[in-house]
């Protein structure tokens, strides 16, 4: 077990202070001139790397043995669907899996479980998979965690994929951790960037601390490597004209399809205009002075065929419903265009929209952090710019432009 060794004789008062400051978890303290590290320590090793040199040492003893990585090949994507209707995150992940697989020349697999899903499985062949493994059983008609986990386990044992990408839908977030625990392997949630190394180690980058920090995570000794990725983080590839790849129907022992879950009732959620699917979004924030001023924003959105969205404070004062909120505690959006109006651009908001293709920000404060992520910053009064712009668009339309 690795541990941190403290050379007490080298400690000076100044070094002590530096070490206490450098520890992000407040795990370092002093008592009677002696330094101690308590159990708040997360072994981030910042005290070794960034503290005064030679005082704290990282001692690595025995490490867990690594699996034989050559036995695990390929990148698998869990095909998230409901009654054969495939969730778009599946295509996005297949596109990313293809990129990653080409780095080390391995195949891309998709796993699909359900009932009567042969036609749906064929749809995946237009997005760049090599093989689609299908478990088509009436018992799998509804999502039941225990038997879906069994099916997934069966697939992993038989196919041995090196990496597995799962969409961070509510369903995916339930399934992935159960499997990671069953295989005693690593799981990195909500990755925003993935890279592949030649030795098939998947480099997983995810935001931590509310998006204020990015962490780069690897699973160096275990296989398979699990990660989840939210919808709209990656781009779906353009479907090919002709299908490519094979569909393989899998058999599983019927005993493993016995569930303890009873589904009593399923109710569809009301379909509302969903901002996470929108191509164009106009988002407003606290720069707007009153609710009545929304009409001017709605007019602009209407002219652009855009969905209206907002920041968290506007949800809190009930100008909008929670489904229209962009940000870490709301939706992640990735439109072709987003115009932010009167939004200062907190990190929480930015985390939910910085993947947008084109970001135009209108704000009167030149120091607003939204301008750090905007492709086009417009520093001015929204109450003058927006009406002039809508008028301009109207006139343009009238002139046949």
């Amino acid at each position: 077990m690795p541990y941190l060794h403290i050379k007490q004789d080298r400690i000076t008062e100044q070094a002590l202070k530096q070490l206490i400051d450098v520890c992000p978890f407040g795990a370092i303290g002093a008592e009677g001139g002696k330094l101690y590290i308590d159990s708040s320590c997360r072994m981030c090793k910042l005290c070794v790397k960034k503290g005064p040199p030679g005082i704290i040492e990282y001692i690595e003893e025995a490490q867990k043995k690594s699996v034989d990585k050559s036995e695990w090949k390929g990148i698998a994507v869990y095909a998230d669907h409901r009654s054969g209707h495939i969730h778009n995150v599946t295509y996005e992940l297949i596109g990313k899996a293809r990129e990653l697989a080409d780095v080390c020349g391995v195949p891309v697999y998709a796993l699909m479980a359900g009932s009567d899903i042969k036609a749906a499985a064929r749809k995946l062949l237009y997005y760049g998979v090599d093989k689609v493994f299908v478990y088509d059983y009436p018992e799998l008609a509804e999502f039941k965690i225990d038997i879906y986990t069994n099916v997934f386990e069966d697939f992993i044992i038989k196919v041995k994929p090196s990496s597995i990408l799962v969409g961070a839908t509510n369903l995916g977030r339930t399934l992935a951790p159960r499997l990671a625990a069953r295989f005693h392997t690593g799981l990195t949630a909500d990755c925003t960037k993935l890279e592949m190394r030649n030795n098939t180690d998947l480099v997983q980058i995810r935001p931590a601390f509310g998006g204020n920090i990015m962490a780069q995570i690897v699973t160096p000794r275990h296989r398979p490597q699990f990660c989840t990725v939210r919808y709209k983080i990656f781009s779906a590839p353009t479907p090919t004209k002709t299908p490519a790849g094979d569909i393989i129907y899998m058999r599983i022992n019927e005993k493993r399809l016995k569930s303890v879950y009873e589904i009593v009732n399923t109710e569809e959620k009301m379909k509302e205009g969903d901002i996470s699917d929108a191509d164009v979004i106009v988002a407003v924030g606290r720069g707007l002075k009153s609710k009545a001023d929304l009409s001017m924003i709605e007019e602009l959105a209407g002219l652009l065929g855009a969905q209206l969205a907002c920041t968290r404070p506007l949800i809190e004062c009930s100008w909008f419903g929670p489904k229209q909120q962009i940000g870490l505690s709301g939706r992640t959006v990735k439109p072709k265009l987003i115009i932010t109006v009167g939004i200062s651009g907190s990190v929480q908001f930015a985390a939910g929209m910085q993947g947008s293709d084109c970001i135009i920000a209108i704000n009167c404060d030149p120091a607003a952090s939204i301008f750090d992520i905007a492709h086009y910053g417009i520093c001015g009064d929204l109450y003058e710019i927006v009406p002039k712009l809508t008028q301009h668009i109207r006139e343009g339309r009238a002139n046949g432009l």
Binding site: M1, P24, D38, C41, R42, M43, L46, K50, K64, R82, L171, A176, P177, R178, A180, A181, R182, G186, A189, P207, A208, G210, G211, N212, I213, M214, A215, Q216, I217, V218, H222, V260, Y261, E262, I263, V264, N265, T266, E267, E268, K269, L304, K336, L337, V347, C358, I362, D372, A374, H375, G377, I378, C379, G380, D381, E384, K388, H392, I393, L401
Partner: protein, 262 residues
């Protein structure tokens, strides 16, 4: 009904930044609080025991200071709490945390139901609950909005899936991870605080577990390694437009035309 709620102490704020030169975390405050998502889990447990009888215990894993989080739960209405704390647990990732908690829960005794919050505000992974369930070989459900009935050794509950709301039934014991904002959590009672103090909180260590192999805990027991942390990227190509409001709206109009949005 014996219910166990898993809770965690988290930093009082997630407003931390990385010094881009040194790569060191800058934290304004080291104050801690009980993870807000756990409050909904606690409230649901209290409401269920009020209706069906029984009591609520809590478990938390963390440094010795995490006792404070357990105390808060105690003052809200829990009967007792356990802090799982050991230097050898340091550096645990999702898997090692899930495993450590499951070992701690087995040590505490038998429960009809385990309830977890949706996620923590510092780790944000929303995965530990499901891993605990897997290690304990219990069925579980995520995104639970309510538990509507307990009868004949089974619990009926409502799950928020992505495009549907599903009512399901599971045999006890089982583990439920609840969504946020599903109820109004009660406040800690001053009377309970005065009466109980921290009397009902105990601490257990690795040596108390049935699996005492150090290799399964902390950093060594964690399959994932954090290689580095760094500040989020700032977008490189950016253009600030300036001028009068008229000029700005004209430029914006041209921009939108150029990109074929008009």
């Amino acid at each position: 009904m014996k219910i166990l709620v898993c809770i965690k102490q988290v930093p009082g704020t997630s407003d931390v930044q990385v010094n881009p030169v040194t790569g060191v975390l800058i934290r304004d405050s080291v104050e801690s609080k009980l993870n807000p998502y756990d409050l909904y889990a606690l409230e649901m447990a209290f409401e269920l025991t009020a209706k069906y009888g029984g009591g609520v215990d809590v478990i938390t894993m963390g440094p010795p200071q995490a006792k404070q989080a357990a105390c808060e739960a105690l003052w809200m209405g829990a009967e007792s709490g356990v802090v799982v704390s050991d230097k050898r647990f340091a550096g645990a990732d999702v898997l090692a945390t899930g495993y450590t908690l499951s070992q701690g829960i087995v040590k505490m005794g038998k429960y009809d139901m385990i309830i977890c919050g949706k996620q923590t505000t510092d780790g944000d992974t929303a995965q530990v609950g499901a891993e605990v369930a897997e290690f304990m070989k219990l069925p579980h459900a995520g995104n639970v909005l309510a538990a509507t009935d307990i009868s004949d050794g089974k619990v009926t509950f409502i799950v928020n899936l992505d495009d549907s709301v599903v009512t399901e039934r599971l045999p006890l014991p089982c583990l439920l991870c609840v969504d946020g904002d599903i109820n109004t959590p009660r406040l800690p009672s001053y009377k309970r605080k005065k009466e109980l103090g921290d009397g009902m909180i105990s601490t257990i260590m690795l040596d108390d577990f049935s699996d005492k192999d150090e290799m399964n805990y902390g950093l060594t027991g964690s399959p994932t390694n954090v290689e580095r942390i760094f500040p989020p990227e700032r977008h490189e190509e950016k253009k600030m437009l300036s001028g009068s409001s008229k000029e700005l709206s004209d430029k914006l109009y041209e921009l939108l035309r150029e990109h074929k949005f008009i």
